[in-house]
């Protein structure tokens, strides 16, 4: 059909002009998305390294190990999160969310883990976000991690806390394990109430199941820790068993 391709009539060139604008738009968007994906991968890998560093903690080296973890985390923030912030350039936080969400979730996981180990408390979203503000050019909107990614990261945190708790029990730090147990239960309860309201809660549903498993693993570990301890207490002689039993209950409930 020769006639139609030879044509470069007014209309046809209007169409071409329009589509070359669309092409530019798509090319730029895709390039940006790709750069964001790469930045996100870097954040993931390096946040995971921070998490491994935290797990190097033992009863005897806690301060030292956690100091290094915090330093590493700060490096992740300054190097890799900063690059993500730069690539996003203050826009498309929601449009490109899927491209950076995995990295941000892992970062939340690492940051909240560090904070919990240091202080026993939960690092708030506001605290994380205010730490990110200085990274961006003051002329653009600062990257704000959204509630969803924060909550998804928190859900993963419980898996790491489970690992931590079992290690702590091995190290004899039963109280620390109990503390983790209470903390994780509280997060689980709160998320259980929130999860159905989350935007696209399919991921979250899976994570809730995993989280419950983690809670149960911690509880089982505390259970067997307590049994070992009770053996220890009672083995001295059955006469004093009754008294010790009440002591034990008292001790445990005060944890």
């Amino acid at each position: 059909p020769r006639m139609m391709t030879a044509a470069a009539s007014g209309e046809s060139s209007v169409m071409k002009d329009a589509f070359s604008r669309y092409a530019d738009y798509l090319n730029q968007l895709n390039d940006k998305r790709e750069r964001v994906v790469k930045a996100s991968r870097d954040i993931t890998i390096n946040s995971k390294k921070v998490i491994f560093q935290v797990h190097r903690m033992s009863k005897y080296n806690r301060e030292e190990v956690l100091d290094k973890a915090e330093k590493d985390l700060a490096a992740v923030t300054e190097q890799y999160v900063a690059r993500l912030v730069k690539e996003l350039g203050g826009t498309d936080f929601w449009k490109l969310r899927r491209a950076y969400s995995p990295g941000v979730q892992e970062y939340v996981e690492a940051a909240t883990l560090c904070k919990f180990c240091k202080t026993g408390t939960l690092l708030n979203l506001d605290e994380i976000n205010s730490g990110l503000s200085p990274l961006s050019d003051p002329s653009v909107d600062p990257l704000q991690i959204n509630v969803l990614d924060y909550l998804l990261g928190l859900a993963d945190l419980t898996g790491e806390l489970m690992r931590l708790a079992i290690g702590r029990i091995s190290d004899g730090e039963l109280e620390f394990a109990e503390k983790i147990c209470r903390f994780v239960r509280e997060i689980y309860r709160e998320l259980k109430l929130l999860a159905p309201s989350m935007d696209d809660n399919h991921d979250m549903k899976t994570k809730m199941d995993t989280m419950l498993q983690s809670v149960v693993k911690i509880e089982n570990a505390c259970f067997s820790g307590c049994l070992t301890w009770s053996d220890k207490v009672f083995s001295s002689g059955s006469q004093r068993r009754k008294n010790y039993r009440w002591l034990l209950i008292h001790l445990l409930s005060s944890l």
């Binding site: 209470r182 239960r185 309860r189 259980k192 159905p196 307590c226 009770s230 039993r245 409930s253």
Partner: protein
């Protein structure tokens, strides 16, 4: 034309069905919301808060549920004979309700919440709108799934007599279920899972027994 006339009738019919279903789903979602709050309160039970405190919060929702089931019943009254047409729309929420009520009842009395008691708690005792028996049974299986975790946490908190009581309860319940001829359906699958609960509770009971912790304690209410 007849054809147009017929499809106009259908349109009315379908629109009514959709309206009905939307209202049912709305109530079902409120039920879900109430059970979420209830569940959240009962989760504190795993942290060994005193039973009465745990129950009090949860019980506050029973009134809400009653009201909601009353509304469901009223909607269904509008279309007699269609209970099972819309059953799927409130089914899983009802199963969760049963599981929570049964757990609370067991915490309070040590007994299984009977089907008629469940209906009564939900204000369904003398209405046309009843509690489907299979839903009740599935709910009971769900409750059974919670018990191993409860027992573990109770022992951790120093209540060494709990495993014995739960084991007795679960053994009887399991035996009762075994009397039923279940088809290869959802209920059967849930029941098959109950044996893992039973096994886990046996193990916990074993753990306290072998350590001599499961002694004859005396401070348990008389109805046990």
């Amino acid at each position: 034309t007849t054809l147009e006339k017929q499809f106009q009738d259908f349109r009315h019919h379908l629109d009514e069905s959709v309206g009905l279903r939307d209202r049912i789903r709305a109530v079902a979602m409120e039920i879900e919301s109430a059970t979420r709050l209830m569940h959240s309160s009962l989760l504190l039970g795993h942290q060994s808060r005193p039973v009465p405190e745990v129950l009090e919060k949860a019980k506050a929702q029973i009134g809400v549920l009653k009201e909601l089931f009353h509304r469901l019943a009223e909607i269904l009254l509008e279309c007699p004979g269609q209970y099972y047409r819309f059953h799927g729309d409130w089914r899983s929420e009802t199963q969760t309700v049963v599981s929570l009520l049964a757990f609370m009842h067991w915490l309070e009395t040590g007994n299984l919440l009977i089907h008629t008691e469940a209906e009564e708690k939900l204000g369904l005792n003398n209405s046309e709108f009843g509690l489907d028996i299979e839903d009740y049974l599935v709910g009971i299986c769900f409750m059974s799934n919670e018990l191993p975790r409860y027992v573990v946490n109770q022992v951790t908190a120093g209540d060494y007599d709990c495993p014995r009581k739960v084991l007795k309860f679960l053994t009887d319940l399991h035996a009762a279920f075994r009397m039923l001829n279940l088809r290869n359906d959802f209920l059967r699958k849930k029941f098959d899972g109950m044996k893992y609960d039973l096994r886990r509770v046996e193990e916990v009971y074993y753990d306290v027994k072998i350590r001599g912790l499961a002694a004859n304690v005396g401070f348990w209410p008389s109805y046990w």
